[in-house]
Subunit: 225 residues, 2 copies
Amino acid sequence: MAPKAYYSIHPKFHAAVDCIIFGFEEGELSLLLLQRDFEPAKGQWSLMGGFVEEGESLDDAARRVVAELTGLNDLYMRQVHTYGDPGRDPGERVLSTAYYALVDIKRYDRELVKAHNAHWVKLNEIPHLIFDHDRMVQDALRFMRYQATVKPVGINLLPEEFTLTQLQTLYEAILGEPIDKRNFRKRIASMDYIEKTGRIDKTLSRKGAALYRFNREKFDGNFKI
Amino acid sequence: MAPKAYYSIHPKFHAAVDCIIFGFEEGELSLLLLQRDFEPAKGQWSLMGGFVEEGESLDDAARRVVAELTGLNDLYMRQVHTYGDPGRDPGERVLSTAYYALVDIKRYDRELVKAHNAHWVKLNEIPHLIFDHDRMVQDALRFMRYQATVKPVGINLLPEEFTLTQLQTLYEAILGEPIDKRNFRKRIASMDYIEKTGRIDKTLSRKGAALYRFNREKFDGNFKI
DNA sequence: ATGAAAAGTGTTGCATTTACACTTTCTATT
DNA sequence: AATAGAAAGTGTAAATGCAACACTTTTCAT
């Protein structure tokens, strides 16, 4: 067994998670940010975060923190990076692990968000954030963009059923560049895990647009390597 | 200011770094692993790791730990992931951040490695490692492979000057598949940041092979986005 | 009846990637 | 001195993937 001193001669640190919560609305990506009405850094903007508790994994902590703010427990989340510079939190030393989360912006709990004084802010209108949260956002954005080019994580920003126009607008927002409609639809047509539901959405156009859905079974079947 | 209780009501944890140290020899990737002659988990195999100390960033801790074992202070290193499940270390709770490092296997300090009872182990001969170190290795390998397809990080596994055959063998080892010699050389020729030194290596063939070197300035000039 | 607004639909050219085999050079051996 | 062996070095053609491009259909509101 390990001698007791093996651990105890080393310092301990607070551990936190900070969450970069992405939403998609009006053709643009947004982040859910807190206008802090509490200390520390009261009055400034920050990411939603929280301390890791005893017996709680990092993933669980991130999930809890996001659920506290959104009421949603089933979000797509990924760890981005851990920030551990001494002095990154001017109060005490805290190691913080950043996670990004993808939210269908129609689903979050408006009461909870209001209670936390949180707001959806469009990507290009993001204010300066406290500590090293600016850098966390940059890193999370880069990582999410990369993931989106590799697998269809973006789907988690849309409702269960979505039109191809919605999907294209989403990917244009993620990649930050316009996409040719015909080429885009050709590519989607070749992905059998994005399937027509047979239903039609009439709210977004007079003509109506076919609704599609992501079929996780087909995707996992095709992509497990 | 933050009330003192803001921090102090939350638990603290040990923080560690574990390092996946890659080398390249005889056409294969290897890892530098410890056969532990110390507790905990004496007798088992593990990654080189260490606790994060007061006033030391995670990156610094990883750099220190790798230098302790290899004597090398200038290695290419990247953070991979942080592992925080309660119980991942059966002794006490420890949050561990994994880093990978790339070593020119000709350069490390053999005395230090021997003193730590560490050994280079080929990728496909890696034994079961303690705790969650197996998973760390898988994650690091995937991340390093991805990085190698995007930018020439592999160069850090070779000496300053190298032949194109060495470089090709390295990339075959990283990607795990054979590469066509002519296509490979065509691609390298199009990268002006890999430049001929004018020197010739005569140790690896009778004919002799041109030595090349990575020009960081040209690379940064081309790739800064 | 008409106009507006979004949905939907194929083809061609271009660029990139892949497949493929022989010659050159040198030295160690006979 | 001749030769065999071993790795270095070199170009072309086919195929595939990617990018560019414009008009018709449908429906509802006016």
